[in-house]
Amino acid sequence: MSKNTVSLPSKELASGSSLWQDAWIKLRKNHLALFGLGVLIVLIISSLLTPWIAPYSYEAQNLDLGATAPSVSHWLGTDIFGRDMLTRIMYGGRVSLMVGFIATAVALIIGILWGAVAGFFGGKIDAIMMRIVDILYALPFMIFIVLLMVVFGRNILLLFLAIGAVEWLTMARIVRGQVMALRNQEFVEAANSLGLSQWTIIRRHIIPNTLGPVIVYTTLTIPSVMLLEAFLSFLGLGIQPPESSWGLLINYGVETMEEYPWLLIFPGIALSLTLFALNFLGDGLRDALDPRTSKD
C-alpha cells in the first residue's frame, strides 16, 4: 500500500443510498407521478371496499325514478333504470382494475420466464426463443382477440388469458436484454470469481437489477391492458352484463348520450383519469429507477 492512502470517508457518506431509496427520493419530487400514485391507491382501496362503501346496492333498480342528473342523493346521477351511477362506476372499476392487474400478471409471468431463460442461456436457445417472439410480434393481435372472444364465447377468464398472452412479448424482450447485458458486467464477473454460486448471483445481482425496468413496464402495461378490455367491452365482446366495466358503461352511455350525457361523461372520466394516473406513475418510475439519471 502506498503512503497516500485515501482516508476513509465519514460513515454517513460511506453508507450511501440504495437504488430504491434514490428512486423514492426522485419520485417524491415528481408531482405528476405522485398524483398518479395517489389516484391509484384511492382506486385500489375503493375497489376493495366497494361492497361496503358503495352508496346503493348494485342491482337496485328504480324504474319510477329513471335517469336523473347528478343530485345530492345521487352524486353522479342515475341511469335509465334508476340505478345509482356512482355505485355502477365503483363496481365497474373493480372489474376494470381486476382485468388490468390479472392480465398484466399473466403477461408478467410469461414474459419474465421467457426472457430470463432466453437471456440466461443465450446461444441457440436464445435465437429460437426470440425468433418466436418476432413472429408473434408480426401477428395482428387485436384481430385475434376479437376472434378468440367470438369463437369461445365471452368468458372473463379467457379475456385475462387472451390479453395476457398478447402483452408478454415486450416484457420478454426487456427482461432478455437486461439479463444478457448483466451477465457480462464486471460486477457479475467479480461475483463469479469470488466463488459465489450461480443461484446467489441470480438472487443478489441479476434479479434486483432487472426489477427496475420490469416494474416500470408493468406500470405501463396495466393501462394498456385496461384500455384493451374497455375497447372489447365497448364493442360488446368483453365483459358481459350483469357484470359491468368502464368500457361497458361507456358503451351504454353512448346510446343515451343525447338525453343523458352524464351517463357517458362520468365513466369516461373514471377511465381517462385512471389511464392518466398509471401513465404518469409509469413515466415517473422510469425516470426514478434509471440509475444513469443523476440525483440532483
Binding site: L227, F231, F234
Partner: protein, 311 residues
Amino acid sequence: MIRFALSRLLQAIPVLLVVITATFFLVHSAPGGPFSADKAVPPEVIKALEAQYKLDQPVWQQYIGYLGDVVRGDFGPSFKYSGRTVNELIAAGLPATAELAFYAMLIAVGIGVLAGVTASLKPNTAQDYIPMSAAMIGICMPSFLLGPLLVLVFGIYLDWLPISGWGDIPGDKILPSITLGTGYAAYIARLSRGGMLEVLSQDYIRTARAKGLSETLVITKHALRGGLIPVVAFLGPAFAGLLGGSFVVETIFQIPGLGRFYVQAAFNRDYTLILGMTVFFSTLIIVFNLLSDMLAIWLNPKLRHEIGGNK
C-alpha cells in the same frame, strides 16, 4: 436493400402460414356449426349447405383446400351473406376504410410531428409542456370515448358537423378522421420529441451550427431526417393499430368499411368472412411493417451501411 426486402418478404411467409393455420383451426373448433340457426332447418338442407361449403369433408382436407384457395387469392363464399363472396365484401368495405385510415394518418403525422418538433426545440419550457400535456391527454382518451364526445359537442350541441355516414353529406368525414387520428398524433408527438432531442445533441448538429447555417436550415435539413426515424419506424405498427381502431370508429359513425364488417361478422359468426378478413388484415399489416422498416433504414445511413455490408 432489395435483398433485405426480399428476405423480409420470405420471412413473412411462415408468419402468414401461422396466421392462416391458427385462424382456420380456431374457427373450426368453435362450438356450434355456422348453420345452427334459431329456426329449425331440415337436415337435408343442412346437408346441402355443408356440401356447398365443403364442410362435409374431413378438417385437414378443408384446410389444404383453403390454403390452396388463399394462395390463389380466393377467400370463398360468405356464410351469412348468401350469394356474396368474401372477396366481394372486402372489396366493398376497403375504399371507406382505406380513405379513413389515410386521413387519420395524415392528421396523426401532421399534428404529431409539428407538436413534437415544436416541443423539442425548447425543452422544459412552456413550449414543451403545453404540447406534451395535450399529447398525454390524447393518449389517455381512447377513441371510443373521444368519438362520442366529439359527436356530442360538434354534432349535437353545436350542430356544426354530421355525425354519421361516409361521403353522403359534405363534412361527414371530418369527425371520424379526427377520432381515429388523435391518439396516434399524441403518440407520434412523443416519439418525434424524443427523437429530435436525441439528434439535436449530436456532434453533426453542432457542426452544422458552427458552419453558420441558419437555425431553420439546421432543423429542416439536418435534424429532422434523423429525429423522425422513430416516427417512421412507428408507422407500420400504427397502421396495424388504425385497422383495429377502425372497428370502433366505423361502428360509432356507421361507416360501411372493413372494421364494421369485421365486428358484424364476429357477431353473426360468419366464419368464412372472419377467416378471410383476418388473413387479409394480416397480409396488409405485414406489408406495411416492411415498408416502414425499409423507409427507416433508408433514412438512417448507419443502418443502410450495415445492411449493405452484411448482405
